[in-house]
């Protein structure tokens, strides 16, 4: 018997706003001027917080962090497409998105200075803390999605982020598989920034696209220009609409670039060329979006200057507040081992405090 083709698959690529600021009128999302400016502001704030944190880290005023510069469209535009009822289940390179979903600038500062206080949930907000174990959070997203389905919350879905390296992890594949079987309302967003610390995308997987990983689980997989905020917005919005309508999960590969180091503890000149980085500068998501706004006549240098001043003072105020915080309860970790009281933990707390007192006396 001759072989016959039983299935055929394809992966689409979406770009709406190109590097020069040209827009595809047919695909252009219908967003008001206010909305467009809000999205621009979100990306710009993310960039500025990122760059300030880099300075603070170099001055020893905060610890290690993973800069997001260059990836703002890939995570801020999805955050912008979400509603208050949608859940944000992030990794660790989405600071702008977190701020857009309702975190304060104080939170990343505290987190990256070694305090769990940075993970405190803004009132009632559906934002999970930073997740450092690569792709592990994608499973939480699927579980949350199951719970929202179970509770009949038709208007909530979950957006989860991970990177190109994350597509090699079993947890991501298990998450896609469970989400496919459960038709779980999840939007999987892979920020393919081309580098997993020192491992280039080409050595991460031989798959020609990352989007095609989803096809094995019968989940639509779309590749998107991850530096195009309009495309990322539209892709996420469509995926959320599908999720809310009970049509199940979507996988979005956001093709972007990590302009900075993996974390501040890393030196990328060891493994990649400056020419490669330069090549991506022209595709910057924020300058591209600014051109778009200017062409629309809703943005100009004066407004830009005003925004820069506004954001600078916002960040200044947060840094000031952060640096004034000194009263971190030493034994707080004992408060949060369990939700119930246990002698063993309390005895260890007393021993810990006693040792602190002795250290203070000896000092």
């Amino acid at each position: 018997m001759p072989l016959k083709e039983i299935e055929r698959f394809s992966v689409s690529y979406l770009q709406i706003l190109d590097e020069k600021g040209n827009v595809d009128k047919e695909l252009e999302p219908k967003l008001s001027s206010d909305d467009l400016i809000r999205l621009y502001r979100g990306m710009f704030l993310g960039r500025e917080v990122d760059q300030r944190m880099l300075k603070l880290q170099r001055q020893g005023r905060i610890g290690t962090f993973g800069p997001c510069t260059g990836q703002e469209a890939a995570h801020c535009a999805p955050a912008f497409a979400m509603t208050e009822k949608d859940w944000f289940v992030g990794a660790f390179r989405e600071v702008g998105a977190r701020l857009m979903r309702g975190e304060s600038i104080l939170q990343p500062l505290l987190f990256h200075n070694g305090y769990e206080e940075g993970n405190r949930r803004p009132d009632g907000k559906r934002i999970l803390p930073i997740s450092i174990i690569v792709s592990s959070q994608t499973l939480h997203a699927v579980g949350i999605a199951y719970a929202t389905q179970y509770r009949g919350e038709k208007d909530s879905a979950v957006v989860t982020f991970f990177g190109d390296g994350g597509t090699s992890q079993g947890d991501m594949h298990e998450a896609l598989n469970f989400a496919g079987v459960w038709k779980a309302p999840v939007v999987f967003i892979c920020q393919n920034n081309q580098w997993a610390i020192s491992l280039p995308r080409s050595k991460q997987t031989s798959s020609r696209t990352l989007a095609q990983k989803a096809i094995a689980y019968d989940i639509p997989g779309l590749q998107v220009d991850g530096n195009d905020a309009l495309a990322m917005y539209k892709a996420t919005k469509d995926a959320l609409d599908r999720a809310h309508a009970g049509e199940g999960p979507t996988f979005i590969e956001a093709v972007t670039y990590r302009m900075m180091m993996h974390t501040t503890a890393d030196d990328p000149t060891k493994y990649r060329s400056e020419e490669e980085v330069e090549g991506w500068r022209t595709r910057d998501p924020i300058s591209r979006f600014r051109i778009y706004l200017e062409k629309k006549g809703i943005w100009d240098d004066a407004r830009q200057k005003q925004l820069e001043e506004e954001i600078k003072s916002e960040i200044d105020a947060a840094v000031k507040e952060f640096e004034a915080m000194t009263d971190f309860k030493p034994d707080a970790p004992f408060d949060f081992v369990f939700g119930t009281r246990h002698d063993e933990i309390e005895e260890q707390r007393q021993a810990f405090l006693e040792e602190l007192r002795k250290e203070a006396q000896n000092a």
Partner: protein
């Protein structure tokens, strides 16, 4: 009071809690239509349907990982690991997330969930179906580890685990699943997690055991008491972590002699921790060195040899008598 086996008591607890609280859901491999490979979820699928009794794809990390998401979103998932020997695939999610959400968010996100798993040897099973690895789980801060020893406490502790605000690893001795029956009250019975129980009172020696070892040790205790005219105190640990060290210390202070019986290997084990606790809290009351009767530090042998390695009645009896004679 109905008489039940341990595996019946487990499904009884699950059914009662599910009937009471619609946030309780069960997930795992073959837990639905098939009612679990040991029938621990008997009747649940029929009564509560496939939304609450989820036959998951075959992936332990995902079973716990999605259960974590469900718990974060307000459900109370009870996840089954089909055998403890397959549970190691979910340790990354347990150590990395379930145990940490409370601390990480300073109490604003919590993971109230239960991970049930049959553990232990003595059932002539294949490789990976006979280990006793409670020490692995007991070593993770933020995780409670509970090991019932009989039908009645299995039911009361499982109810407590489901209602607990923290992740609970609930290790069920599969060797005892159908070994004996006990009366289990129809009405609600809850035992406190973190508390050991005096299973038998005595003044001359303390024996500590948990899980599958308890029904093995108890008749030996009674035998030695009759033979030697002594009174032996038997502690059923029930919770491995957080450990009820104060109850152990109080008993050892009273008896001055102690034997610990565990199915698990010797080194860096729960028995080691109990000895350290006695050292901290009751050392000067000891009249004899604390003895451990344990498995050996070998890779769990296949079932042809396993009963030579698991503490046998003879080994337990000798340790008790030698400690009495010291």
């Amino acid at each position: 009071m109905p008489k039940m086996t341990m595996v019946q008591a487990v499904s009884f607890a699950l059914e009662q809690e599910m009937a009471k609280d619609d946030s309780v859901i069960v997930l795992g491999e073959d837990v639905g239509m098939d009612e679990g490979v040991f029938r621990a979820t008997a009747g649940l699928y029929k009564r509560f349907g496939d939304r609450r009794v989820i036959d998951t794809p075959l992936a332990e990390s995902a079973i716990l990982g999605t259960a974590i998401g469900m718990a974060l979103a307000g459900l109370k998932p009870v996840a089954e690991m089909q055998f403890s020997g397959f549970s190691y695939l979910m340790i990354a999610q347990l150590e990395g997330h379930a145990s940490r959400f409370r601390a990480r968010s300073q109490g604003q996100w919590t993971c109230p969930l239960v991970i049930r798993m049959p553990y232990g040897g003595g059932v002539r099973a294949l490789e990976h179906h006979s280990e006793s690895r409670e020490a692995l789980y007991g070593h993770i801060p933020g995780v409670k580890v509970v090991m019932p020893s009989g039908p009645r406490n299995a039911r009361a502790l499982l109810v407590a685990a489901i209602r607990d605000p923290d992740p609970v690893v609930f290790m069920e001795p599969k060797r005892s699943y159908r070994a004996f029956r006990e009366e289990v009250p129809e009405e609600e019975e809850v035992m406190e997690i973190g508390k050991a129980q005096i299973a038998h009172e005595g003044a001359d020696l303390t024996v500590i055991a948990w899980g599958a070892m308890v029904p093995i040790v108890l008749p030996i205790v009674q035998e030695v008491e009759t033979k030697r005219g002594v009174k032996i105190e038997m502690i059923d640990l029930l919770t491995i972590s957080p450990m009820d060290a104060n109850l152990i210390a109080a008993s050892v202070k009273k008896t001055g002699r102690c034997v610990i019986v565990q199915e698990a290997p010797k080194t860096i084990s729960v028995a080691s921790e109990i000895i350290a606790q006695i050292n901290d809290k009751a050392l000067l009351y000891l009249q004899a060195p604390v003895r451990r009767v344990t498995n050996f530090d070998v890779v769990t042998p296949y079932f042809g040899r396993e009963m030579m390695y698991i503490p046998s009645p003879g080994r337990i009896r000798r340790a008790i008598e030698e400690t009495l004679d010291f």
